[in-house]
Symmetry: C2
Subunit: 428 residues, 2 copies
């Protein structure tokens, strides 16, 4: 008999079926026992009255993997209106050692560090697995939106001979006796691939040796990177980003509707035009001094509230960040060269995306590095490509874990990451 | 005027359009000049008769990025039946330095090392970019096939505290002062995630410090990993793999039809049932001694020829590899415990996929490590999860670059990898 998933039970009333999953919970009452089975699709209730089956059940603690063959019986008070009766229960492995927290309670009450120490079991809790389902759907939506716009997926090196963004915050490793570094972003490679495909994206791990321990930083996170050529300026990039976000949230709504319901959240609408304010205007709105070179998290929160209040938008673009605070490959605003054609996207008052137009002329790169007093040599292989014809281009990078955390209302990105890596954590 | 791509020109005959791209080739004849523009969609021919435009063109070497505004004119002898006449040509950057090989010739004649040294420009050649388009389509097909079968995409750590497969061939790095390693595979994590979602997949980089220099090994490659629970044995895994390959080749045929045509190849059919031979039978077919513990590349080639001759199949499963040659997490064949429930899939005589059923009982893991004289401690965090209820499960891993190389007939995996990493190569 073919195994069926728990959500198919209602279509089998009156028939004998086989299900399999984890012992989610046992309730051993005086005259009857209830067994709740958890599988990939949800929960199923099994009613046990046979003393022999009950005796067997008493030896199978929570999380034991079992197979249940039983009759599907309608019961208006049971989950989804059906329960399984007259079961035989066969363990598919030895009795489980229950994890150090109860997975059957509505909320995981263990502290976050305890959950992370026991990630393989903690992730089985519906609240944790739901966030990862949202994450998977968001990535699928990212790809679908860009595939539909003729972007080509690329896979680039994660080990590089020099650091991308700056010398700090890189992990060093030994590459067959040579010094090498984990890539902080696919920035250079996605730019080079614009020379090949015009439009590219990559979903992959990036590594930041962040020495500080915050609720929004990880030492490895999943970066959703896109880059496109033949742009007029950064506004073309912002339009693609807007459509990509809409695609991500659309697929989350379709594929992860159950997960959103489990988490009690709804996906926000992306406005047809995301409101945008220039950096100088953002400082004013945030009540910051006019000579601040960057936005602090408190400023971003204030701006997020403003966007919601004034525009009904969960999203806000801040454009024209000062050049001094952006990486050397950033394209300046031709009209106000102290400001950049770079932007951030705030999602509910937190920086979610960084993007912008990049330099595309070889000479501009040399000038930009010289102006910063940085040597050309570490970037030589990358810069060389700009001598061979590169179109005006730009792109963006979305931090997946931050996006999901903001979307589901998790206070810490670690709550929506399967096996986080940070200053302190290298296992499990 | 909105820019259009070259493949849209035939629908604009008689109209003025704007295209943009790279100067693929100039042919400066006496009374007329031909300019071939390359964009993401292909090539377009521009006819230049105006002496002023021609003079401009003489200053724009191959690979310069330009914008052309011109009239679309029908011409049966031109590519796709149209050409652009009466053009204005505007460079979008400085004149390009031509790369050290001609991208406009039908084949890239530079040696592979020269191509790899100049990857950003070499990849612009249609033969190189076509292989990467096939690669992107193959990955899209992998995901689509597994999404349709309720697999959930996961993202797992690429830095781990102990090595997955064995102590050799790992890259060591410094993780905030602690020793750590680049992950050789997501093996343990995908198994743990079967405990959460039952069925999972991951597309991501894996790292092997391979000290040898061959045409089929890379130090970083893209692994297409899948793992599924509640299997009877490895044959359930093989069925999913078969369907996944069909999905991959299906999407390659749909999305990368032009790329396949450029490369002059057709995607093979996946038989409804891929032929399978037991390892012992494979030795006989390959003419190898009966006590060989593994298949050598020459044996695999012979087996590939046999599968094509006897079954008309480009694919062949070899099942039941000796336990001694498989990793400790491999499930033995219950009927013949010296042989495993592990398999390889040969594609045109080369090992493409390794997979099998895994151990799922904690006690079996302890016994397997003890039998090999391996300590438990490095695997403790991973093994612990098996105390908390894991279903019978198995999975497989497809090496993306090998798959694409075999599919397009590339002799070296480096020909189908954008920026390969190996013993000698860490740039670009």
């Amino acid at each position: 008999m073919q195994r069926i998933l728990s959500d198919h039970l209602p279509t089998h009333v009156g028939h004998t079926v086989r299900i399999a999953g984890w012992v989610h919970r046992r309730r051993l009452l005086k005259s009857v026992a209830f067994l709740i089975i958890r599988d990939a699709a949800g929960l199923a209730q099994v009613v046990v009255t046979d003393p022999a089956v009950r005796a067997e059940l008493e030896k199978l603690p929570e999380e034991t993997v079992v197979e249940v063959t039983a009759t599907v019986t309608a019961n208006g008070t049971a989950p989804a209106g059906v329960e399984l009766t007259d079961p035989t229960v066969r363990p598919l492995g030895p009795p489980a050692v229950p994890p150090p927290f109860d997975l059957y309670r509505p909320a995981l009450t263990a502290s976050l560090p305890t959950q992370l120490d026991n990630a393989p079991t903690a992730l089985r809790h519906p609240s944790r697995s739901a966030a990862l389902r949202v994450s998977a759907a968001a990535v699928a939506g990212f790809r679908a939106a860009l595939d539909a716009r003729d972007f080509v997926e690329v896979h680039t090196p994660k080990v590089v001979s020099s650091s991308t963004e700056s010398g700090a915050n890189v992990f060093a490793l030994d590459w067959f006796g040579r010094p090498a570094y984990l890539a902080q972003s696919p920035q250079f490679y996605k730019q080079l691939m614009v020379g090949v495909f015009e439009r590219v994206y990559e979903v992959g791990p990036v590594f930041r040796a962040e020495p500080h321990d915050t609720v929004r930083h990880l030492a490895q996170y999943t970066s959703l990177d896109a880059e496109l050529g033949f742009v007029a300026d950064h506004s073309d990039v912002m339009r693609v980003l807007r459509d990509t976000l809409e695609g991500m949230l659309g697929v989350v709504g379709e594929r992860a509707a159950g997960a959103l319901a489990t988490l009690g959240v709804t996906a926000p609408q992306v406005p047809a035009e995301i409101p945008a304010v220039h950096f100088t205007e953002a400082l004013t709105l945030a009540g910051a001094p006019a000579d601040e070179p960057d936005l602090a998290p408190a400023h971003e929160r204030t701006l997020g509230e403003w966007a919601l209040r004034e525009h009904g938008s969960d999203f806000l673009f801040v454009t024209g960040y000062p050049m001094a605070k952006r990486p050397f490959y950033t394209h300046p605003d031709p009209a106000r060269p102290a400001y950049s054609n770079g932007f951030d996207l705030l999602f509910r008052g937190v920086e979610l995306v960084t993007g912008g137009q990049r330099l595309h002329r070889h000479g501009d790169y040399l000038a930009a590095l010289a102006a910063r007093g940085e040597p050309v040599e570490p970037y030589a292989g990358y810069l060389d490509a700009f001598r061979h014809g590169m179109p005006p281009h730009g792109g963006f990078a979305i931090g997946l874990e931050r996006f999901v955390a903001r979307l589901v209302g998790a206070a810490n990105v670690r709550e929506v990451t399967a096996f986080p890596r940070d200053l302190h954590r290298l296992t499990p």
